[in-house]
């Protein structure tokens, strides 16, 4: 009896153990199947991106070679827009491949610039210009790069290249996955000179409005104290700032911060984070407070061009004026709390990037009546004024601005005040956060 009593629990224990092992095995197998399934899905997505990239590279190559020999302007336009579209696809595909940014940034840079350059050419040919020999030289050198880039992409061993192998910038995986020029002679990327948002000239542009002698940290601290509304002794010095607008960084009470430019000791930006409970002041009152604030810093001739309200706070954009012409590139932004009208944030980086004396360049060759003829007959302008708008690259264009209403929607149409070319159309779109220009 005693012995059977002793053995019974032992049988039970091994039963339980066996059952548990079986349950664990089933669970483990299910997890394994799931993991394998996810792994396959990731592989499939990688493969898809890879083949899309191969397709795009082939299309770019074909379009570029055709473009070099195309003689009809219409054909050239179509090829150019094909290339710009395909280069967008190609960069999107590269971004979704398991490759790190340092490995692919040169090829992404090249493809983005190629697309951008083609858009700039479309703009030029749209103006009636034909491609000149310099454009052709650029296109030929870009095609050479495309051919080599395509070879690199085609030679990537798919199996090896797309293994999922985690890692961040902070820990870039061993054996960089896709690398332009790997195992081949490294590709030399040409520098193309043109006017567009991705052009190198824009990368290297320096602030036109910061042309004063340098100030010391002590002088900058004076400006910071005035900007943050405190005493110099209450400021914290948070280090020097590099980049395009070198300067000094200061803080007050760990709540409000600002950067002061080394050139001239100008307030580049102020930023704080105060809550606001109740909208007490209206937009007209706030606008006047912002204008007074601007005047106290010496910006006397500014006009509000846009505003937005969120979180009981109002953000306003101001543009400078010269000889009565509105200068959109001279942009300053101000954010105020709507309860007491405190200035929460201020930004003059746009202003200092672009501000110059524009004397002598503000005379319009066309009258606004002449420019009116270039606006679509569907639109009925309700307001007209002369203004300067930023061009696609670094330049600026003097335009007649027509505010128009069509189908209860507001449009802004910009007609070049010297050539009559329609430069830009903006449309006001209402969003949850207020109106936006698109």
């Amino acid at each position: 009896m005693q012995s059977s009593q002793r053995t019974r629990p032992r049988v039970n224990a091994s039963w339980i153990l066996g059952l548990l092992l079986a349950v664990t095995a089933v669970w483990g197998y299910r997890q394994y199947i799931r993991a394998a399934d996810f792994g396959r899905q990731i592989d499939d997505m990688n493969e898809m991106s890879y083949y899309q990239l191969v397709d795009s590279m082939q299309n770019i190559d074909v379009n570029l070679s055709k473009l070099i020999v195309a003689s009809a302007p219409g054909e050239a336009l179509e090829l150019l827009s094909g290339i710009s579209r395909q280069s967008d696809f190609a960069t999107a595909s590269i971004a979704s491949l398991p490759s790190t940014h340092p490995a692919v940034m040169d090829s992404v840079d090249f493809l983005n610039t190629l697309g951008d350059y083609c858009r700039a050419l479309i703009n030029e040919t749209g103006d009636g210009q034909v491609l000149d020999s310099e454009d052709y030289n650029d296109l030929v050198s870009m095609r050479d790069v495309c051919v080599r880039l395509r070879e690199v992409v085609m030679n990537v061993q798919t199996g090896k290249a797309f293994e999922y192998d985690g890692g961040m910038y902070e820990d870039i995986p061993e054996g960089v996955l896709i690398k332009a020029g790997e195992g081949e002679e490294s590709i030399e990327y040409p520098t193309i000179i043109y006017d567009g948002p991705f052009s190198e000239a824009l990368d290297q542009a320096s602030p036109k409005g910061l042309v004063w002698p340098e100030v010391t940290q002590e002088q900058a601290a004076q400006a910071a104290a005035a900007a943050l509304g405190c005493d110099v002794s209450q400021l914290s010095f948070d280090g020097e700032v590099g980049g395009k607008m070198p300067g000094y960084s200061f803080g007050f009470n760990n709540e409000k911060f600002c950067n002061i430019s080394r050139s001239g000791g100008k307030v580049l930006w102020i930023m704080g984070n105060e809550d606001c409970e109740q909208e007490v002041l209206n937009e007209t009152q706030l606008m006047q407070m912002a204008l007074d604030y601007l005047a106290s810093f010496g910006y006397s001739d500014m006009e509000v061009t846009w505003s937005q309200v969120y979180d009981c706070q109002m953000v306003m954009s101001f543009a400078g004026k010269q000889e009565g012409v509105l200068i959109y590139p001279d942009l300053i932004k101000i954010k105020l709390n709507m309860d007491e009208g405190n200035i929460i944030a201020f930004d003059a980086t746009g202003y200092y990037m672009n501000h110059i004396d524009r004397s002598g360049s503000l005379g319009a060759a066309l009258s606004h009546e002449q420019a009116r003829d270039m606006v679509s007959p569907l639109l009925e302008p309700v307001d007209t004024r002369l203004c300067v708008i930023p061009a696609m690259g670094l330049g600026e264009i003097l335009c007649w601005e027509f505010t128009c209403v069509f189908n209860n929607e507001t449009y802004y149409v910009y007609i070049n005040a010297n050539t009559g070319k329609q430069e830009k159309i903006y449309k006001v779109v209402d969003t949850v956060d207020g109106s936006m220009l698109v």
Binding site: A13, P98, T100, P102, M105, M168, Y169, F198, N273
Partner: protein, 222 residues
């Protein structure tokens, strides 16, 4: 006896681990084919607000789906006809987020940017959060990176918060405000394309970039 205790503990752990299946906790979004009281509430609200004129029967059919889409379009939500956490919030019902596994439900780029800011930089000073959002926007403008906010954020290996899922946390009001301020043009990073935390960054490459400014724990570089 000892062995039995070990078995017992093992048994409990095994049962628990079998019960804990992450899939079972996924978001209970309401979509076509769903039914129940939650659907009834959605129909009722949508009817009150003139988006829906079918029966309030608690069955999510094509008419309900069309009404949800209409509502989503009117509220700047992704018009997918699915009542996920954000649409639910807008309608005024709570949809269990379940780890917020449905990034498809968002109210556009601002919200996506705010999620990245929250995932990457919560706990940083406010201007540090604005600066992180500004880096994303600087990348969109740079030729070296993809040309959309989502393209930049979801670029492979670009952000830790995307890889470990922290981007799917619900952002707080501060992160949303930081994203809006950056979209409105504030850039405390001084035009940076990169940032890293020197306490944890191990890549040699990132240290080779020129530092513009330091905010909180992050170095901002170009």
């Amino acid at each position: 006896m000892k062995l039995k205790k070990v078995f017992a503990i093992f048994a409990v752990l095994t049962v628990l681990s079998v019960l804990y299946c992450p899939g079972a906790l996924a978001a209970e979004a309401l979509k076509k084919g769903a039914s129940g009281d939650e659907v009834r509430i959605v129909q009722q609200r949508l009817k009150q607000w003139d988006y829906y004129d079918g029966p309030v029967d608690g069955i999510f059919g094509s008419e309900t789906e069309a009404a949800v889409k209409k509502f989503q379009r009117a509220h700047n939500l992704v018009a997918d006809g699915v009542v996920g956490p954000s649409t639910g919030r807008a309608i005024g019902i709570t949809i269990s987020g379940g780890g917020a596994k449905s990034p498809s439900v968002s109210s556009g780029d601002t919200y996506l940017l705010a999620r990245l800011v929250y995932g990457e930089a919560r706990g940083e000073p406010y201007i540090g959060q604005v600066a992180v959002a500004a880096v994303v926007l600087n990348r969109v403008d740079s030729a070296k990176f993809p040309n959309t906010i989502s393209g930049v954020i979801y670029q492979r290996y670009a952000f830790t918060a995307v890889a470990d899922g922290q981007i799917n946390l619900e952002p707080d009001a501060e992160a949303i405000r930081a994203a809006k301020d950056a979209i409105n043009g504030w850039d405390p990073s001084g035009g940076a394309l990169y940032y890293y935390n020197p306490a944890v960054a191990t890549s040699q490459w990132i240290y080779s970039r020129t530092v513009i400014t330091v905010i909180g724990r992050h170095r901002f570089a170009i």
